[in-house]
């Protein structure tokens, strides 16, 4: 499934491409209620890991994530780690805005819990 969702003030822009095995997410994620978008992303990752064996790439450019969104992100990383342990080729690129070192810290802190390769890189945030 391919999907392109525009961001809102409290939800991130998301693009997923099944054919190229790429998931892009950028922006804020602090929805008021249960994060329906998060469940959709977790399901997409679970499906693509289960159904095809191409390399999978995540390009994340988060600004502010609330606690529920961070929990969802950890769910995704846990799934990636299991696939990685089984030999799946995976990459996580974590982009952060230079003005928001908290995003870089979150990326660093998250990456330490995994054997996956995280590339954490400075990149200006483009609205």
């Amino acid at each position: 499934m391919n999907l392109s969702l525009a961001g809102t003030p409290s939800t991130p822009a998301i693009q997923v491409s099944w054919d190229s095995g790429l998931l892009r997410m950028s922006g804020d994620s602090y929805p008021e209620n249960t994060c329906g978008l998060c469940s959709g992303v977790i399901a997409w990752v679970a499906n693509i890991l289960a159904e095809i064996s191409l390399p999978l790439g995540l390009e994340l450019h988060p600004n502010h994530l609330n606690a529920s969104s961070i929990r969802a992100m950890i769910d995704v990383f846990d799934r990636l780690q299991i696939a990685f342990d089984s030999g799946r080729e995976l990459s996580v690129v974590w982009l952060y805005d230079n003005r928001n070192p908290r995003s870089a810290e979150l990326g660093e802190e998250s990456s330490k819990d995994y054997k996956l390769s995280f590339t954490i890189t400075k990149a200006p945030f483009v609205e």
Binding site: P9, S10, Y30, E32, H64, N66, A67, S68, I70, R71, I74, D97, R99, N100, P101, R102, E109, D113
Partner: protein, 143 residues
């Protein structure tokens, strides 16, 4: 309101760290309210949060959030806030990571727990709370 707050604070700071911490705590406080709101046995639920943010000095903010809770939940809330207030940043990080990986199927209160730890991690001073009893059933809780 979060967006307006973010824009205001960002406009006065070269870097966003302070703004992100203030807004992050604001969002978690606001989104925690429904988790601790009086909903059972006390009449009409009151999910409205009363929130105050004050800039004390350059780069120092106090944030307070208050809402009506059930008296039955008060002790647990006070104990939790006191536990978090007594923890240093390293211990808070450890329990934050434990909470992140705690089972997901126990309902809303778990995310509330994670949010509260997040607030304590961002805060530069220990969390404090107070209580104003309203009636036999309800009280106004302020974090």
């Amino acid at each position: 309101m979060g967006i307006a707050l973010m824009e205001h604070i960002q406009s006065t700071r070269q870097y966003m760290s302070w703004a992100m911490d203030v807004v992050s705590a604001f969002i978690e406080m606001r989104q925690n309210i429904p988790c601790y709101t009086a909903t059972q046995g006390c009449g009409k639920p009151e999910a409205t949060a009363k929130m105050v943010i004050a800039e004390l000095s350059q780069g120092s903010y106090v944030e307070a959030a208050g809402n009506v809770v059930e008296q039955a939940d008060v002790q647990l809330l006070f104990e939790r806030v006191a536990q978090l207030a007594a923890m240093n940043k390293s211990v808070l990080k450890t329990i934050y990571k434990q909470q992140l990986r705690s089972p997901r199927d126990e309902g809303q209160s778990l995310d509330a727990g994670l949010g509260l730890i997040e607030i304590a991690r961002k805060a530069t001073a220990p969390l404090e709370c107070s209580l104003d009893p309203l009636d036999a059933c309800r009280a106004f809780f302020t974090l």
